[in-house]
């Protein structure tokens, strides 16, 4: 099934989910809303053929949810239990926004993103910086893995228990490669006319379709329902 949403719709979803995540769910109905807005991005991830990340998120979320409800109900204290519920609580609490943000980052191409931001009249500077931030997380993770591999090859596992060394051995090479990647990125961006004085045109033609409007309406009503049930009663 083809399910391509407009970046603006996805941004709207991110916005709504982050708003709902800030408020805790107290009643079963509120939990239902929360779980629903978590499952929709997951389904969308599957629709965009990101099966493995969708599965990983799904398993993590469901496990945390189950542990949270089962253990919390018959909790008898103990350090392990409280630590476990703490972690699962965090996962349940923040997973919705993580999943939605991941969905947004993974399925939005940079040119689509920039074009969408242009249509919303966001200043160019903010758009470019934000686009770089979005693209850069996977790069940092990848570079970090490479650095770790290189360290392992030389027999440095954790910096010999020295915390300062641990930070230094990881951070300095990471910063080195990030600075270099940044230079390359700037060169590539300037080649593509970013930062020119003329208004850029875009190859992607973004249009809000019925799907987008449906999705926005769905999320908006979820947020309204959530707030109404929680605060006005």
């Amino acid at each position: 099934m083809e399910m391509k949403l407009d970046p603006r719709t996805k941004l709207f979803m991110v916005l709504i989910v982050s708003t709902i995540v800030m408020m805790s769910a107290t009643t079963p109905l509120l939990w239902a809303v929360r779980i629903l807005i978590t499952l929709i991005p997951l389904v969308l991830l599957v629709a965009e053929k990101k099966y493995s990340s969708a599965l990983k998120f799904f398993l993590l979320y469901v496990t945390a949810l189950v542990v949270n409800f089962v253990v919390l109900v018959n909790s008898d204290g103990g350090i392990v239990v409280s630590l476990l519920t703490g972690y699962c609580g965090i996962v349940v609490q923040f997973m919705p926004s993580v999943i939605t943000a991941w969905y947004f980052i993974r399925t939005t191409k940079t040119d689509e993103f920039i074009s969408a931001m242009q249509k919303m009249h966001v200043p160019d500077g903010l758009t470019i910086s934000l686009a770089v931030v979005m693209r850069f997380f996977p790069t940092i993770a990848e570079e970090y893995r490479h650095i770790n591999d290189a360290m392992k090859m030389r027999g440095i596992v954790l910096g010999g228990g020295n915390v300062v060394k641990m930070v230094e051995f990881r951070m300095i090479p990471l910063l080195f490669s990030c600075v270099n990647i940044g230079d390359e990125l700037s060169a590539a961006a300037v080649t593509r006319g970013l930062g020119g004085t003329v208004k850029r045109s875009s190859v992607v033609d973004l249009r809000l379709t019925v799907k987008d409007i449906f999705m926005m309406a769905l999320f908006l009503s979820a947020a309204i329902l959530f707030i109404a049930v929680k605060y006005i009663r």
Binding site: V14, S18, V21, M22, M23, S24, A25, T26, N68, L72, S82, L83, T85, G86, Y87, C88, G89, I90, V92, Q93, F94, S97, V98, A101, D124, G125, L126, I128, S129, L130, A131, V132, V133, F136, F137, I140, V167, E168, M171, I172, L174, L175, F176, C178, V179, I181, G182, L185, S186, A189, V190, L194, G195
Partner: protein
């Protein structure tokens, strides 16, 4: 030199990269806060210290007004998206603006001004305590409902409350200075020798 006052695409990319790095560091340090709430209060020590290195490297790249402000705006956006709430956002942007103005008064080259500017910039860590203070009751409730134990919430409020926030801000500021000095040393040791900056 007048033309170069405006930020270029290269500057925006630099902002994006360093914001991403700072955020990753913040996340890595932030994860430790779930072990014990006192570590949450300890962020004011840990974060400025660790962030000192990338920040000082970032300062060597800054030549124009706006780069620190935009960074703080991005941080505020990211903090909102990751569920930290919107209450701290204006404070984050404010500290970024102050930091920017201070660094500007030193022409972005003065070492002393850079150090002080970084100390102000680190205060965004404290801005994240803001929801804990302002909406104490509902925050506490949402913590416990969110799966944290009663003990965790109690200790968190013992560590972060209206009485301690002044101390936390001052400590954060001081460690912002220390982080900047240490960071500058590291940058000198590694990056200036290698000719990167």
């Amino acid at each position: 030199m007048d033309k170069s006052k405006k930020l270029t695409a290269k500057d925006f990319i630099t902002i994006g990269i360093f914001t991403a790095i700072i955020f990753v560091v913040e996340m890595a340090v932030g994860m430790t806060g779930y072990i014990h709430p006192y570590i949450v209060a300890g962020y004011v020590v840990l974060l400025p210290l660790v962030c000192g290195i990338p920040m000082m490297l970032y300062y060597t790249k800054i030549e124009k007004f706006g780069m620190l402000t935009i960074m703080s705006v991005l941080m505020a956006i990211i903090m909102f998206v990751t569920g930290m709430g919107y209450l701290g956002a204006p404070l984050i942007i404010l500290t970024g603006l102050i930091a920017d103005l201070i660094a500007k008064s030193g022409g972005y080259k003065s070492y002393k001004k850079t150090v002080i500017s970084n100390a102000f910039m680190s205060l965004w860590v404290c801005a994240n305590y803001f929801p804990i203070l302002v909406t104490a009751d509902s925050y506490r409730k949402s913590l416990i409902e969110g799966g944290f134990s009663e003990d965790y919430a109690n200790s968190l409020f013992r560590a972060v409350n209206p009485k301690t926030i002044g101390i936390l801000v001052i400590v954060c500021f001081i460690f912002g200075i220390i982080g900047a000095v240490l960071g500058k040393k590291v940058v000198r040791k590694h990056f200036e020798k290698a000719g990167i900056v």
